[in-house]
């Protein structure tokens, strides 16, 4: 094989810039566009920055060998999804060049294009065509797809009558039968119940071992460790680490120990009543950066900038490695805070998570801001992650660690049971 043939994906100086509109998400009416064009010159002279630039990816360079299975890791906003979108040709890069050799399929979600009114059979053909399969190819794999999805009996029923489990199974089954040389897979494994996720991961492992080139994007460190041979760690749109998956994951986990995240103010605008500006996690008797011990508690601090006075509350959900929500809590759970009105400016919310609760592992936090108990004004997924190091004391001679999502302090007693007790 020629040397260059061994390279499946070659990315050179890849950058992607987004222009963020000052007012809203970017949608404007034609009238507004006209008036903006008209007033642009005046505004510039008034010293107002017309638009904000944001680099989602900055000068990425990497190669992926044929048959390599690469995990792309990074926190939210690190540029993982943008990279995948560019590789899938959904959006164009601003700078740089990519060369991909071979048939490409990208799975940014399962069941793209599924229509509820159509039957399972019709949706298989539809989704297959959207994913780039030919009719002949789908015909050949049709029975396998139906068997994998376990929907034989309902194949001619409109999918709107399917249970959500059946729907996801069918959608994944189509995707799992793609035989493209190169696969780009986004967080699609995070669907369905735990049992189905296991099956998906097994199927994905078969695919990875079949000599296909695969790029996975995931927050799930366990899944990535199982599936991938190497990894790329992205941080703020740049590659911080490229190497064996073990090294990349430990670098990622290592950086999670900083336990502090300052959010760029890019989502804020005059129309957002409040915005999350920072978040830290620190042990109760320590400062940010100290490791979090399983036996001691830790505090989550959220800095919120209020732009418009009102009743603002925060809500936090904590997820483990397997996307299982471990707990959720909100500032309004505290009677004293419920209904409190916040003035404009910066505010700090703090909550204390007791010790002997979380097991050893990596956790991610989702944060939402609510206004007037009804409107979710900000919803940040996996806004930061942190590691809990369990220092649970295991007596000498026991080479064992507790398993489970939580690791509570549980006391034991033992006594001799005499037959007479049974009578009383």
């Amino acid at each position: 094989m020629h040397a260059t043939d061994a390279v499946a994906i070659k990315v050179q100086h890849l950058s992607k810039q987004y222009i963020i509109g000052r007012d809203r998400g970017g949608m404007e009416t034609f009238r507004e566009a006209l008036s903006r064009a008209f007033t642009a010159s005046f505004r510039r002279s008034a010293g107002v920055a017309p638009r904000e630039e944001f680099w989602a990816l900055k000068d990425l360079d990497f190669e992926v060998a044929r048959g390599e299975v690469v995990g792309i890791i990074g926190r939210n906003g690190a540029g993982k999804s943008t990279l995948l979108k560019i590789l899938s040709r959904i959006t164009k890069p601003t700078e740089g060049r990519i060369e991909i050799r071979g048939r490409v399929a990208s799975l940014l979600e399962v069941g793209t294009g599924f229509h509820g009114e159509l039957t399972g059979r019709e949706n298989i053909y539809l989704n297959g065509a959207i994913l780039g399969m030919t009719r002949a190819e789908i015909n050949r794999k049709f029975d396998d797809i139906v068997r994998f999805a376990e929907v034989e009996k309902f194949i001619d029923t409109p999918v709107k009558h399917y249970s959500s489990g059946m729907y996801v199974r069918l959608a994944f089954a189509v995707a799992a039968h793609l035989d493209q040389d190169i696969l780009f897979v986004d967080e699609v494994l995070a669907v369905g119940d735990a049992e189905f996720q296991r099956r998906c991961i097994n199927k994905m492992r078969d695919i990875s071992r079949a000599g296909r080139t695969v790029l996975f994007v995931s927050h799930n460190a366990t899944a990535l460790r199982n599936l991938c041979s190497s990894g790329i760690l992205l941080e703020d749109g740049a590659i911080v680490k490229r190497g064996a998956i073990g090294e990349v994951l430990s670098e990622y986990v290592g950086s999670a120990d900083l336990n502090r995240k300052i959010l760029p103010d890019r989502r804020s605008g005059p129309n957002t009543p409040a915005v999350l500006t920072g978040i830290t996690v620190a042990p109760i008797a320590g400062v940010v950066g100290d490791p979090i011990r399983g036996t001691g508690g830790f505090a989550i601090s959220l800095e919120v900038k209020v732009n418009e006075p009102g009743e603002i509350a925060v809500f936090v959900e904590c997820y483990d490695d397997n996307h299982q929500c471990v707990f959720s809590t909100g500032s309004f759970f505290e009677n004293e805070l419920n209904g409190r009105r916040l003035e404009c400016g910066y505010h700090l919310f703090e909550c204390v998570i007791p010790g002997n609760l979380l097991n050893d592992g990596i956790y991610a936090l989702d944060v939402a801001l609510l206004k007037n108990r009804q409107t979710i004004i900000v919803s940040e997924k996996a806004v930061m992650s942190f590691r809990v190091h369990d220092d649970f004391d295991i007596p000498d001679g026991w080479n064992w660690r507790p398993v489970g999502v939580i690791r509570p302090q549980i006391s034991w007693r033992q006594s001799v049971r005499r037959p007479v007790d049974q009578l009383t």
């Binding site: 700078e95 940014l108 019709e122």
Partner: protein, 297 residues
């Protein structure tokens, strides 16, 4: 690449495979580069994706007939009721001339292609926004979306046209060989609709207020097109102006197809010329902004 194309000319079946190989084959090299401004439409790529076009069109047709209570009846009712209303107001009350044909047949023979056109531009201009989930999740030539939106109307057109053929028997208007021209004219209308529809669909992605423009435009456009009135009502020296509206020549052409009149080739040529220009403007504009859809939709 050059060798492949030469092989293609000698053997059509192999040419087919080669084209598919070229876009979906194991040796296909995808190059991703920044947006380059104006660029040509990759017709070969579009052809390679024709299966997706077919599947999406079939999806919309199936959904349309499954979801609505009226189903196929809707395809008949929409132009038919309009015909009844126009016959009463323009035919009877206003005594609109109809070139010697019964007014219902006269107006319906124009309403059938007009309804197709009006639905085609309305649905294609909303098509991209309506398919936002596809655009942001999968790559394919985006032109497939407005194309399939226009394709959906063909079934409705077929149903409405067969009603017209039956009506002609009822009113004693004979069928003629002109009917053979119908597919050509339908294709010309599709080109016009595609030109307008692609432009509007691309504009609607960036500027949502364009969807209101469309319904107004369709209404206005119908009255500057000889749908309710005959071309003969317009003074001869102004006819060229009328035909600058591509739909005038095409609708009048359809009338000739159904009613068996002689074709006005001057009008057809002017209108077809404008239709082709519109088509190119639409498609080129669409291609220019295509790469940005996913970022702003």
């Amino acid at each position: 690449m050059l060798e492949l194309t030469q092989g293609a000319t000698s053997d059509p079946a192999r040419a087919e495979n080669t084209l598919h190989e070229q876009y979906f084959g194991h040796e296909h090299v995808t190059v991703i580069e920044p947006i380059r401004g104006w660029c040509a439409v990759d017709l070969r790529e579009l052809w390679a994706y024709r299966e997706l076009l077919f599947v999406l069109t079939m999806r919309d047709i199936k959904v349309r007939y499954k979801q609505t209570v009226l189903g196929a009846a809707w395809a008949i009712l929409q132009p038919f009721m309009t015909m009844v209303v126009f016959t009463v107001f323009f035919g009877h009350l206003a005594n609109m001339p109809s070139d010697g044909f019964p007014y219902p047949v006269f107006v319906y023979s124009a309403l059938v292609p007009w309804t197709f056109f009006a639905n085609a531009i309305t649905s294609s201009s909303n098509s991209l926004v309506g398919s936002a989930h596809l655009v942001s999740k999968v790559y394919f030539p985006r032109l497939v979306i407005p194309l399939s939106a226009i394709g959906v109307g063909i079934v409705d057109f077929g149903i409405a046209a067969s009603i017209l053929l039956a009506m002609m028997l009822f009113y004693g208007v004979g069928w003629s060989l002109n009917l053979l021209m119908a597919p050509v004219l339908l294709l010309a209308i599709m080109f016009t609709a595609l030109g307008v529809g692609t432009c509007l669909s691309a504009l609607t992605v960036s500027y949502r207020d364009f969807r209101y423009v469309v319904s107004f435009m369709v209404q206005f456009w119908m009255f500057v097109t000889p749908v309710v009135y005959p071309v003969s009502l317009v003074p001869t020296q102004w006819r060229w102006l009328l035909y600058l509206n591509p739909m005038s020549g095409l609708i009048e052409g359809f009338r000739a197809v159904f009613l068996g009149k002689a074709f006005d080739f001057f009008g057809l040529a002017v209108s077809a010329g404008v239709a082709i220009i519109l088509f190119f403007i639409g498609v080129v504009y669409f291609e220019r902004v295509e790469d940005r859809f996913a970022d702003i939709i």
